[in-house]
């Protein structure tokens, strides 16, 4: 798994790529929480995620909970098919704000 963090129009955009599985979900969790701690809206770009498992989903949920607690927003953008399937299985597709593009995501989190 790789990650890339950039600032875009006042929001933090974090792109995760590759597989988020048992081996690297601790790393994904750390990255996501560090973004949330910046106290700016967070967009998580999942377009490059080939595989995400339950532990990866748990990291996303934890980040969302942290963001809510601190009063900022977190949205998922450009979710890949396989990630979307796992979110659906976990019935979290209605819990997360899911947007097609970073631009759409920006309009939702600001």
């Amino acid at each position: 798994m790789k990650h890339e963090i950039r600032e875009h129009d006042g929001a933090t955009v974090v792109a995760l790529t590759g597989d988020i599985d048992l081996q690297n979900s601790p790393e994904a969790r750390k990255v996501l929480l560090s973004c949330v701690e910046m106290k700016r809206p967070v967009l998580v770009d999942l377009s490059g995620v080939g595989y995400i498992d339950s532990s990866g989903v748990a990291s996303l949920v934890e980040s969302l909970q942290m963001a809510r607690k601190s009063g900022s927003k977190l949205a998922l953008v450009a979710v890949s098919d396989s990630a979307r399937r796992v979110l659906g299985l976990a019935r979290l597709d209605k819990v997360f704000t899911i947007c097609a593009t970073v631009e759409e995501g920006l309009s939702k989190v600001r």
């Binding site: 599985d21 048992l22 595989y51 748990a58 299985l89």
Partner: protein
């Protein structure tokens, strides 16, 4: 008075003879009228005959019989004879000579009707008939006013009624009143019997919804005793094609016909959906959605539904707000399995939006009992409630009997046949003893004891790999599984789902069976059997407590629970097989390819 009466009497015969003859005749007439009312179910026709008899007997030109309507405010003519037809005529119960008679409960002779201010002259005016004199007697039984009989114009002589006529009419009115009251009661009884018959028919249909007892050592037995004719409880069990037994037991809030109808609906929906939907949690949530759509406000159903597999002894069940089932293990201990989900019919969507939580347990030769609170709250001979403690005691005392007899022994203590039941009594038992013995003998254990075992004749082994219990090997497994799924013609979506399930199962082995240790070994074998893909996952760790492995509440996102949820969502069958002889755990996942 007596003198007057005899001179005005209807005949010129001697007074004594008149009395005797009249009484004799009128007794005969009364007997005939009584007979008429008793033998005919048509009160209306009997009334008509009665007024005919009376009018003829007293020798009047016309007669009418009035009955008070149920509200007591209206008098209606139900039968009449003579030149004027007034059947159906109504008047306020305090109007007219009839009304006065009914209100005062005294008979009277009106010798010149036209001069009586109460006389209702309109009928004469419209018919051209002339009412000269009226004889009227009330009909009542004790204090209950029923109506009155009115006779018009005595035939012959001066056309006036005599006191003797009044006495006679009063006697006949009293008898007619009694006959009418009897006939009304008979009619009510007939109606009650009709309702009772319909209830009995409903009960018969209800009983037909209950499953027939299985033969010999069939592992599931049930019993249902209704407190009233129909029951708000139900149970059912049926064997699926793969040998598993789908069972349920439910209790509809309330008793009586409305509860019985909801019971019939819920039981039918369960039976229908249960044949194709083999995940109890999902099944109950589907039933819940269905019932919520149409349920009457305030009614609900508590229910336990599940599957028992005699090949493994594993029960999976979901509990919608029902009494905790009791598991009696072979060591003699009772374990209670409480529910934390609401009854069916209250919330269309559960709080977490998901399915009812499932519980899995291995019976291992023990018995699972599911029952309604009618059993635990049933009264014993001494007036105390049975309670869960009493139930356990009875089950323990009868543990040696076959399941059906055990249930009968419990029910017999509450339903002693001499007092009305407080509530419906319903119980089922799922007894794993016989199946456990067969499994131990190896006779009917069709499941492989180890992943390494050679394939059955019909199985095609597609893949057999072993990897160390390390997270970085999961990708290897995923790729192998994805390729195998592709090889079998699975769509991209199905392939992706299968990969998720197998990956999560391997994670569980790494995290839970080996406790994160990288030194373990995971074996995966994929077989094709007909239209099914079978995945056997084997580890060599200490045997895990299967009952602790269950999908968690989805609001709780701890990975272990969520992963198990994914596996159950994706796979059609998830079974922990009995631990292999050389230790470890063996999990079988089955995916049916459409």
């Amino acid at each position: 008075m007596n003198k007057q009466q005899s001179s005005d009497g209807p005949t010129d015969a001697q007074p004594g003879d008149v009395g005797k003859g009249a009484i004799y005749d009128h007794l005969e007439l009364l007997a005939e009228m009584g007979q008429e009312f008793a033998s005919s179910l048509d009160i209306q026709a009997s009334l008509k005959r009665a007024i005919e008899h009376i009018t003829e007997y007293v020798d009047a030109e016309g007669g009418a019989l009035f009955l008070l309507e149920e509200d007591g405010k209206i008098l209606r003519c139900h039968a009449c004879i003579g030149p004027t037809e007034i059947t159906g005529l109504t008047l306020k119960s305090d109007r007219g000579i009839v009304g006065r008679c009914v209100m005062s409960n005294h008979g009277e002779i009106v010798r010149d009707a036209a001069k009586d201010p109460a006389f209702h002259s309109q009928v004469d005016a419209t018919t051209g008939f002339t009412t000269r004199s009226i004889l009227c007697a009330p009909m009542s039984v004790k204090d209950e006013r029923i109506g009155a009989i009115e006779l018009i114009n005595k035939r012959g002589g001066d056309g006036l009624f005599a006191d003797a006529d009044l006495h006679l009419l009063q006697a006949m009115s009293a008898s007619a009143a009694l006959a009418i009251l009897n006939a009304r009661m008979a009619e009510k009884l007939v109606e009650q019997e009709r309702v009772a018959r319909e209830l009995e028919l409903a009960a018969e249909i209800q009983r037909s919804l209950l499953p027939k007892p299985g033969d010999g050592d069939f592992p599931v037995a049930g019993v249902n005793h209704a407190a009233r004719t129909v029951s708000g409880d139900f149970y059912d069990f049926f064997t699926l094609e793969d040998g598993r037994i789908c069972f349920n037991l439910g209790d509809v809030s309330g008793k009586g016909m409305n509860a019985a109808l909801l019971m019939a609906k819920t039981a039918s929906v369960f039976r229908c959906l249960g044949k194709t939907l083999h995940q109890p949690g999902k099944l109950l949530s589907r039933i819940n959605a269905e019932i919520c759509e149409t349920v009457t406000r305030g009614m609900f159903v508590t229910m336990v539904g599940g599957l028992y597999d005699p090949k493994t002894g594993i029960v999976r069940l979901a509990n919608a707000g029902h009494e905790p089932p009791l598991f009696h293990d072979t060591a003699g201990a009772f374990n209670s399995l409480p529910a934390d989900a609401p009854p069916i019919g209250i919330l269309p969507i559960l709080d977490d939006g998901g399915d009812y939580p499932e519980i899995e347990l291995t019976l291992d030769g023990g018995t699972l009992y599911i029952f309604t609170d009618g059993v635990t709250e049933g009264y014993l001979e001494d007036g105390r409630e049975l309670e869960v403690g009493g139930l356990k005691k009875l089950l323990r005392e009868n543990a040696g009997a076959i399941p059906g007899d055990r249930l009968a022994a419990v029910i017999a203590r509450i339903d002693r046949g001499n007092t009305a039941l407080r509530d419906d009594l319903t119980m089922i038992a799922i007894d794993d003893r016989a199946a456990h013995a067969r499994r131990a003998a190896g006779g009917e254990a069709p499941t492989p004891r180890a992943a390494a075992r050679p394939a059955d004749g019909n199985d095609e082994v597609l893949l057999a790999v072993s990897v160390p219990s390390q997270p970085d090997r999961l990708k290897l497994i995923r790729n192998a599984v994805a390729e195998t799924a592709r090889l079998c013609g699975c769509s991209e979506d199905v392939g992706r789902d299968i990969v998720i399930a197998v990956d999560e199962a391997c994670q569980n082995i790494i995290r839970h069976a080996y406790g994160g240790s990288p030194d373990g070994e995971i074996s995966l074998e994929i077989r094709r059997r007909g239209g099914e893909l079978v995945f056997l996952l084997r580890d060599y760790a200490k045997a895990i407590d299967v009952s602790a492995v269950k999908p968690r509440d989805l609001a709780d996102v701890r990975p272990g629970g969520l992963g198990t949820h994914f596996i159950r969502e994706v796979m059609d069958e998830v079974t922990f097989l009995p631990p292999p002889q050389d230790g470890g755990n063996l999990l079988r996942l089955v995916k049916r390819l459409s």
